[in-house]
Amino acid sequence: MRLVIENLTKTYKNGVKAIDNLNLEIGTGMFGLLGPNGAGKSSLMRTIATLQSPDGGSITFDGINVLKNPMEFRKTLGYLPQSFGVYPKMSAEDLLDYFATLKGISSKADRQKIIKEVLEITNLYEVRKKYVAGYSGGMKQRFGIAQLLLNNPKLIIVDEPTAGLDPAERRRFLNVLREVGTNSTVIFSTHIVEDVKELCNEMAILNGGRILKHTTPLESTKEIEGQIWTKSIDRDDLEKHEAEYNVLSSNYNEDNSLNIRVFSETQPSEDFIATKPQLDDVYFIALKQDEPVTA
């Protein structure tokens, strides 16, 4: 059950190359696709989800040629777009019934059975008779998961699902996703590093339509063990440090001083303290390395 993407390319009418000769192989488990806004995450996900056709390349999943045989692929696909709407004046139950029909569950008893289950899983059972259009953001995202589960998908694609959720909702959402991901492939795009750290056993960093790094959260931090250094500086010294060192990130402390993290194989200078690498560092290193060198 592997998703294999080869040489995938997609250029939009306005000239933006959203996917640039992309190759990626994803196995079972939670796969985090990390990238800044506009990196091409959604384009990639929509392309995998058969919503748009690429200019070139191929996608196969579990032996199915996704581009040639989308219908077969859709049977195993669960997709939660970045933002979606629902038909007004329809309850969760009715809408799920609608989607269940679309997903090929022909027996009414079957539909009732599975709808009940997905509502339980997503904790929407009590509000199943309420109009989905009136749901809060978190409930709506959970509804998204509920509809996605209806066809017991082998491949689940969720596009930035945690954006805008409050911490409790986010937690609940990630828990559900985690459960779902135990016996299928889940591709999970986000620009929040934290999400990936908590959830994913595999990850890729995407920018400018290319995969910058394909790794696992554990391995990637292990890779840079001993190469991340930190130092507290004055705000005014930031530019100087940035010029001198490979500054990955900088955070304000309470006293208006800055804490910077620097990537270096050796201790950059004595006032830097070695620190434990975080996934953020991996992310920023990858992005930095991709930046075009300016003279």
């Binding site: 997709y79 629902v86 038909y87 004046k89 090929g104 904790n123 017991n152 609940r172 559900v176």
Partner: protein
């Protein structure tokens, strides 16, 4: 802030392709219509011609305003969208927190939308201007460019209407946040407008109608309703009185509507919502998932994508879409409004002369369906878009599109939902019909008839549109643009005929419609309807395949991308389906084409026009050439109702009645397969197989007094599956001799009459018929050119279950080989004018003196037989007493299907009478209507005298002696039967009918005694004139004069009588003081303009009342184009002017006797009734008059010509209440 929002909105529209597409479509169709009206297609279709200037102020108003109606359908998507956009894009959540005022926001939104639609109207105006003047238009019917007229229409009507309707739509969309609601509002407004105008069309309601017509059209009509051709061509549109009130009223309403929007609009996030359906079924809920973490263990369910399951899925999905439509407020609103309006429409069913028709099923179906056709189509077009784009609009498309449901299931579900909605609306039609019938106590519900017509026949028609709608809406990404395109197709396709595209096989979903009658059911119209619908259904299914291929799945694609997806999807299977459908489509289409073009010659309208020219050019030279005249006819006609065939044979006995030898015979026959054989040796020297005009040379000339016989046979071409080639019906055949049998000599009936068109073809101007003073033109009756009075004998056969009828008396009836034969023979001379009827008849019999009276009717149509019988007797009484004896021993009224027409026609002792003009009338004494089954019967019977005894020569004015006289008799008999007061209903209708219909005249209107045969002159004006005349000189005196006339001319031979001879007889008995009446009524077109200007009354000491009346009397003459003249000769015009008046009143010199009436009130059986206190003719010699009259009782109302006996162009100011 205003200008920022305003300019932003404008920029948005100017960037939007939809704006340019709308503009382009409007531009093209406006050019098309204006150019078509100006004759640009004259070279490919019939010439427009006529004397009407197409770009007169009136013409511009009509064209400009008419085209602008289309704009109303754009209001929701332009003015509505300005504000809706902010909701849809959820911009409102940001925008509404910005610091601008409600006023600037709302005004900017509304005004920007208004500007956009105004620009679109401007495009229409431009296109109309250009269209009229496009090279190729007929410059003779296009007048000088008149910018003011465009401006007038634009400023007085179009812009205020856009403001009004725009404000309403804006309000609806703002509060419902639903564009569909905006559309439904437009549909409902049009619905209501049409209805109120229909209901208020009666004369006394016209002021009110003018005031409350939101379009302002009825207020304009109030002043221009009776404009003659010349006035329509020359006058500028008025802007006064009622028009100003109307415009102010509706601008005020627009202001109020907008004010309400302003008042109740708030920058809030949610729409005002109305919830109609609340269903809360109780169910016990137990919550299980308490913690955050559950194990995901989905139950095992079956996923099935088999074809059958997919079909079921489509059905199920359709339910969701269906609910989405029918549970929404807009839809419920349209159903309710439609239901109410259909009921009101039904209440006016079949109003003839103020009398309604019984709500028989076909009639209720006709009215209720009629009211619903446009709404059903619009709802189909609108919701096709809403459904196709539903996912996108709700942003749920990505969820839907990634499911493994094939495309066809998706579009099929939309189609099913759409069709279900249509069925619901058709059920509403049925419901309204049944409710109405129940309400009227008419319990003969023909439920199967309802079901069959609505859910099979009509449904087919609408379903084929649904297929087109789905296709267009799939192709076009914008539901409102799609709606507009569909609307243009729906309205425009039938009109392609104007551009010479005449055959229905080239115009989507066009074709012959089915026609129902109680007698003949759907008859043969059903087959051709179903053939064409099958054809278009196949066409629609081809579109459906394309819909499938173009179906959008996923992110909206560029058109190029869609084409490549289209190519990808196009595989052997779809190719195969298209091929099969195409074979069926082309197969039927090809067959229809073959039948109508190759196997049978099809003459286009253009060709028909050219043939008429050719006919005249080729054969006019034989007009007036001596021909033998038919003196006896003996025919055998065999009607085969089941096979819809006929064959006939016959013999004409002819005599050379001229005093010259005849050597050539000009045989004018029809295109049915025929044989002709003369009993003297002849040679066929000329045969014209197109115009069917043959010339035979007699070997030996026919000397004066010699006789000749023609034996002929005629039958129809074999009927095929695709085409019926005979006039026979399953039940209710009605054929006259001119349809079947040959004639002799040149017939001028098909000559082109319009002089402009004639000139184009190099034909001289024509004067239609010769003047009655032309003594050389009196050789023929206006019925027939090859016979005077004939002996008649006929044997008619039909199927065993039917009765066949022809003029004459039944000699023998027998059955042979399963066919029923009837032998009829006439014992006296008749005109060469007879008909054959055959149907399964019931017969009602009665007697008047020795005369047998029979009514042959359809079972179930017994309602008015007694009235008709009464009419027969009354007419026999009146005519035989006043004019001459009845010439036959029998009267037969014979019902025929309404599909054959809505008229009755008098043949010798037989009167075919349509089922729709009396048999199902609902005569009610309480009503204000005329008992028309009675009146029409009297009229038709009178024709046995006035046509079948007295027949005019074939010159101008001939119909005065037949139609006007029959109308006069009918009025008089009605008056004697029902009293004078009943006459007002009839006279008012006749006056309004005359004044209205003369405005449609395109050639000329002659005075009554020189009329060209127009119905509005010989019926309406004729009845008014003779009735007034009998009032002026007395019924007895008039009838005595007429009796003398009848005695003198009845059954005469050539030279035949003329209107001059009749008018002279009347003149003889008319006193000198009233000779002017003859001139005004018969010899000229004279119209009065009488009115009361002031009236006072006071009680005198002796208990009587003195009434002081001031009134104006004036009259003018019209020439044959409708131009006004106020004198006999230059300088004799009289005038009257007070200081207050802007223009003087002008008049032809007066020495006229005019009724002055004073009316009081009396109680009869508890009801107040008008009582005549005073009625006398006063001699009037000046325009302004003052008189004092003393009456015994309290006066209530005063009138000048209070009974509207005179032809008065404004009849509602003749009376005034005190």
């Amino acid at each position: 802030m205003f200008s920022t929002i305003f300019t932003h909105e404008l920029k948005y529209w100017f960037k939007k392709p939809a704006f340019y597409i709308y503009a382009a479509i409007l531009f093209i169709i406006s050019i098309f219509f204006s150019a078509a009206s100006a004759g640009i297609f004259d070279s490919i279709t019939v010439s427009v011609g006529g004397n009407k200037i197409v770009n007169s102020p009136m013409g511009i108003y009509g064209m400009f305003n008419g085209m602008s109606q289309l704009i109303f359908f754009l209001l929701p998507s332009i003015i509505g969208v300005t504000i809706f956009r902010d909701y849809k894009s959820e911009m409102h959540s940001i925008l509404y927190s910005y610091p601008f005022t409600k006023a600037s926001y709302l005004f900017a939104k509304f005004l920007s939308g208004l500007i956009i639609v105004t620009l679109l109207v401007f495009v229409i105006g431009l296109a109309v201007m250009i269209g009229f003047r496009l090279p190729g238009t007929n410059s003779e019917i296009v007048g000088a460019f008149n910018f003011g007229s465009y401006l007038h229409s634009y400023l007085v009507y179009i812009i205020p209407n856009l403001i009004l309707f725009g404000a309403i739509v804006f309000a609806v969309v703002t509060f419902t946040r639903n564009i569909a609601a905006g559309f439904i509002t437009v549909i409902a407004l049009m619905f209501i407008q049409g209805l109120t105008q229909g209901l208020l069309s009666e004369e006394e309601n016209r002021f009110l109608a003018g005031l409350i017509d939101p379009y302002g059209n009825a207020s304009l009509q109030y002043y221009t309703r009776y404009w003659t051709l010349a006035e329509q061509n020359d006058l500028s549109l008025p802007f006064k009185g009622l028009i100003i009130y109307n415009r102010l009223l509706w601008l005020g309403v627009a202001g109020v509507v907008f004010g309400l929007v302003y008042k109740y609009f708030s920058f809030s996030q949610s729409a005002i919502s109305l919830s109609f359906f609340k269903k809360e079924k109780g169910e016990r809920v137990t919550k299980k998932n308490f913690g955050g973490i559950t194990r995901v263990q989905l139950p095992k369910v079956n996923y099935n994508f088999s074809f059958v399951e997919n079909l079921k899925a489509a059905w199920k999905l359709a339910k969701v879409d269906f609910k989405y439509i029918v549970k929404a407020l807009p839809f419920i609103a349209i159903v309710l409004v439609g239901l109410i309006l259909a009921l009101i429409t039904l209440s006016e069913v079949g109003n003839i002369l103020g009398t309604k028709t019984l709500p028989v099923t076909w009639k209720t179906l006709q009215s209720a369906t009629g009211a619903f056709v446009l709404p059903i189509n619009l709802i189909t077009f609108l919701y096709a878009g809403m459904l196709v784009h539903r996912g996108k609009m709700a942003k749920a498309n990505h969820l839907v599109d990634v499911t493994p449901t094939p495309n066809w299931v998706l579009w099929l579900s939309k189609l099913i939902a759409l069709l279900k909605v249509q069925l619901i609306l058709l059920a509403v039609v049925m419901l309204s019909g049944v409710i109405y019938q129940t309400y009227k106590g008419f319990y003969n519900f023909e439920i199967t008839h309802y079901m069959y017509e609505l859910f099979v026949l009509q449904f087919l028609h609408f379903a084929i549109w649904a297929l087109m709608a789905l296709f267009i809406q799939t192709l076009v990404g914008n539901a409102y643009l799609g709606l507009f395109i569909l609307l243009v197709l729906n309205i425009g396709l039938p009109l392609l005929t104007l551009a010479g595209v005449e055959q229905s096989i080239f115009k989507y979903n066009q074709g012959p419609s089915f026609r129902y009658s109680d007698m003949n059911g759907y008859g043969s119209s059903l087959r051709s309807y179903l053939i064409y619908k099958t054809y278009w259904l196949l066409g629609g299914l081809i579109l459906l395949v394309f819909t499938s291929l173009f179906w959008v799945r996923g992110i909206p694609h560029s058109f190029k991308e869609r084409l490549s997806i289209f190519k990808e999807r196009f595989n052997v299977k779809t190719g195969g389906v298209i091929a099969v459908l195409l074979i069926g489509f082309l197969g039927i289409g090809g067959n229809l084409y073959y039948e109508n073009n190759i196997k049978n010659k099809r003459t286009s309208r253009k060709e028909r026009e050219e043939q008429r020219v050719q006919w005249e050019k080729d054969y006019k030279k034989y007009e007036g050439k001596a021909q033998p005249r038919i003196v006896a006819v003996n025919v055998d006609v065999n009607i085969f109702p089941k096979k819809l065939d006929f064959n006939a044979s016959g013999t004409y006995k002819m005599i050379n009645k001229t005093n010259e030898a005849i050597d050539s015979l000009f045989l004018d026959h029809n295109s049915y397969p025929s044989t002709f054989e003369f009993n003297k040796p002849v040679t066929l020297v000329h045969e014209d197989t197109i115009q069917n005009f043959d010339i035979y040379q007699l070997e030996k000339s026919l000397q004066p007094g010699d006789s000749l016989e023609l034996n002929f046979t005629v039958k129809n071409k074999e009927n095929t599956f695709f085409r019926k080639n005979s006039p026979v019906r399953y039940n209710g055949t009605f054929i006259n001799n001119f349809q079947l049998f040959p004639r002799f000599g040149y017939q001028d009936g098909s000559e082109l009459t319009d002089n402009k068109t004639r000139k184009k073809y190099g034909l001289p101007k024509n004067d239609l018929k010769p003047h009655p003073s032309d003594s050389t033109a009196l050789g023929n009756t206006y019925i027939s050119k090859d016979a005077d009075w004939i002996d008649f004998e006929a044997t008619v056969s039909t199927s065993e279950d039917q009765i066949a009828i022809a003029p004459g008396y039944l000699q023998k009836e027998w059955i042979k080989d399963g066919r029923r034969y009837f032998h009829y023979k006439m014992d006296s001379k008749i005109l060469n004018f007879y008909a054959f009827n055959s149907a399964k008849y019931q017969v009602k019999k009665d007697k008047w003196n020795d005369v047998n009276l029979e009514i042959y009717y359809q079972k179930g149509h017994e309602y008015n037989l007694d009235r008709m019988m009464k009419g027969i007797k009354a007419s026999l009484d009146y005519n035989s007493k006043n004019f001459s004896p009845y010439q036959h021993k029998q009267v037969r009224i014979i019902e025929f299907p309404k599909t054959g027409g809505s008229f009755a026609q008098s043949f010798p002792n037989t009167i075919p009478y349509s089922e729709s003009v009396g048999f199902i009338a609902e005569v009610n004494k309480e009503d204000t209507g005329v008992d028309y089954p009675f009146a029409i019967t009297v009229h038709e019977l009178a024709h046995q005298w006035f046509a079948h005894q007295v027949i005019g020569a074939d010159v101008l004015g001939a119909t005065m002696m037949s139609e006007s006289m029959s109308e006069y008799v009918s009025l008089k008999v009605l008056e004697h039967a029902e009293g004078k007061s009943e006459m007002r209903k009839f006279l008012k209708k006749a006056l309004d009918g005359y004044l209205t219909q003369r405005t449609f005249e395109r050639k000329r209107e002659k005075p009554l005694m020189y009329n060209d045969g127009q119905g509005y002159i010989h019926y309406q004006k004729g009845s008014l004139v003779f009735y007034a005349l009998s009032d002026y000189i007395g019924e007895e005196k008039l009838n005595n004069a007429l009796k003398e006339y009848v005695e003198k001319v009845k059954f005469q031979n050539a030279p035949y009588t003329t209107s001059i001879e009749m008018v002279d007889k009347i003149r003889e008995v008319t006193p000198d003081s009233l000779q002017y009446v003859i001139k005004d009524m018969f010899e000229t077109i004279t119209l009065y303009r009488n009115r009361i200007t002031k009236v006072d009354s006071k009680k005198l000491d002796n208990g009587k009342y003195q009434v002081d009346i001031e009134f104006d009397v004036s009259k003018y003459r019209n020439d044959d184009k409708g131009k006004r003249f106020y004198g006999e000769k230059v300088g004799d015009t009289i005038s009257y002017k007070t200081e207050k008046m802007k223009k003087p009143i002008l008049s032809v010199p007066l020495a006229d006797y005019i009724d002055i009436g004073i009316f009081g009130e009396t109680e009869v059986d508890g009801k107040k009734k008008e009582k005549e206190l005073y009625l006398k003719k006063h001699k009037i010699t000046q325009i302004h008059n003052k008189i004092s009259i003393i009456v015994d009782e309290k006066p209530i109302e005063v009138g000048v010509d209070p009974y509207n006996k005179l032809i008065d162009t404004q009849s509602d100011d003749n009376r005034r209440k005190l």
